[in-house]
Symmetry: C2
Subunit: 196 residues, 2 copies
DNA sequence: TTACTTTACGGAACATTGTTCCGGTTAACA
DNA sequence: TGTTAACCGGAACAATGTTCCGTAAAGTAA
């Protein structure tokens, strides 16, 4: 798993060359800028151009688009994952923690243009992004669901994966349509979870 | 609004030439076949080739991909729209009718590969598809929701558009992942609608 | 510092797909 | 049957993803 600080080894176990690390950072910065303006489907060429590097360089550092997206959003994903247990400790009930965390998760998807859309995508583009998201967030969702179920606040049996994916899906396309607010539907979904 | 039978006028008010109608039918058949195998994002070239016509022909008949998708699925959309009022008459309660209709709607999206995905899409590709879907199905959803709300079975205030879009979103990507079954989440959503 | 090795860089070249355009063909009709 | 308007096919162009290799730079040791 690559890191973003000076210790990055490029996966080879050897230290990265200085220019390589410089370019990687330039690429991450450029990608973050372009993603905001044009979504995560922006042309690779534009990102390379904005970073001032060639096509070969971007493909060497990030073989797939998903690798680049993961690298750009790693921080936010990490924060979201860490918030789960914290909410469980802070909130009065497991269900309240679950609701708050789901809200944070939805914010992440809604704020970053096209991220939700990329997460499911067709076929298996973005498979690495999908995998990273799940590895990191599914256990968190599972723990919140379990806690709420044990407390008797929701009925048991909900699959964490399915819930995450469903919420992710609901967040798609909110930004080109003011009539559609994913949060209302997410609230309905949570309501449907509650024990009668 | 184009039709598929012999009366098609191509929108000009004049009768279509025989070869034009023949090609349109060949294209519809080919598109339906290709969509099943490769989803609605299959290359235009392949559809044209399967129909045995040139690129110009397909673009003349269906200027955008969405036009072609609409034409292919018109029948199913129409059936779904007509089922709404029928369910309302047949079922014991408005909510039961709503639930049954939502199931039919979901089946439509789940069965036709990639249709759900195309429905929201990014930017505004598929805008005609989106528009047709809404024009036809939103009033049906509205009537079902109103009836259920009036009967006191669900709480009022749910936007038909939002519900349709949400269900559409939930149906995305079910086919490349056995762990994800949109129907379970849709059931939760409906449960969340119910009056306490 | 210099010579040498290893790694990375840049961008041309190729592949795929969407989209447009135009010369030739054909159906419709008098 | 001749005229005309509509239609056809596919070449040509454009945008983008992906690969490859000659060249340049960084690291290393004498």
């Amino acid at each position: 798993m690559p890191t973003t600080d000076g210790s990055d080894t490029g996966g080879t176990g050897r230290r990265m060359r200085a220019d390589a690390r410089r370019n990687q950072e330039k690429l991450l910065a450029a990608a973050a800028e372009v993603f905001v303006g044009s979504g995560v489907d922006a042309p690779i060429r534009r990102i390379a151009a904005r970073a001032g590097v060639g096509m070969g360089t971007i493909y060497r550092h990030f073989p797939t688009r998903a690798d680049l997206v993961v690298a750009v959003f790693r921080h936010q994903i990490e924060e979201c994952a860490e918030a789960g247990p914290r909410f469980l400790a802070e909130e009065g009930s497991p269900f309240a923690a679950l609701r708050r965390w789901v809200g944070l998760f939805a914010d992440l998807l809604v704020t970053k243009h096209g991220l939700a859309h990329a997460l499911q995508s067709d076929s298996s583009r973005f498979a690495p992004l999908h995998a990273y998201f799940l590895d990191r967030l599914q256990p968190v969702a599972a723990r919140l669901l379990d806690a709420a179920a044990e407390a008797g606040e929701i009925r048991p049996g909900t699959h964490p994966y399915e819930l995450l994916r469903g919420i992710g899906n609901l967040c798609i396309g909110h930004d080109d349509d003011p009539r559609y607010d994913p949060r209302r539907l997410i609230a309905l979904l949570l309501q449907g979870l509650r024990r009668p």
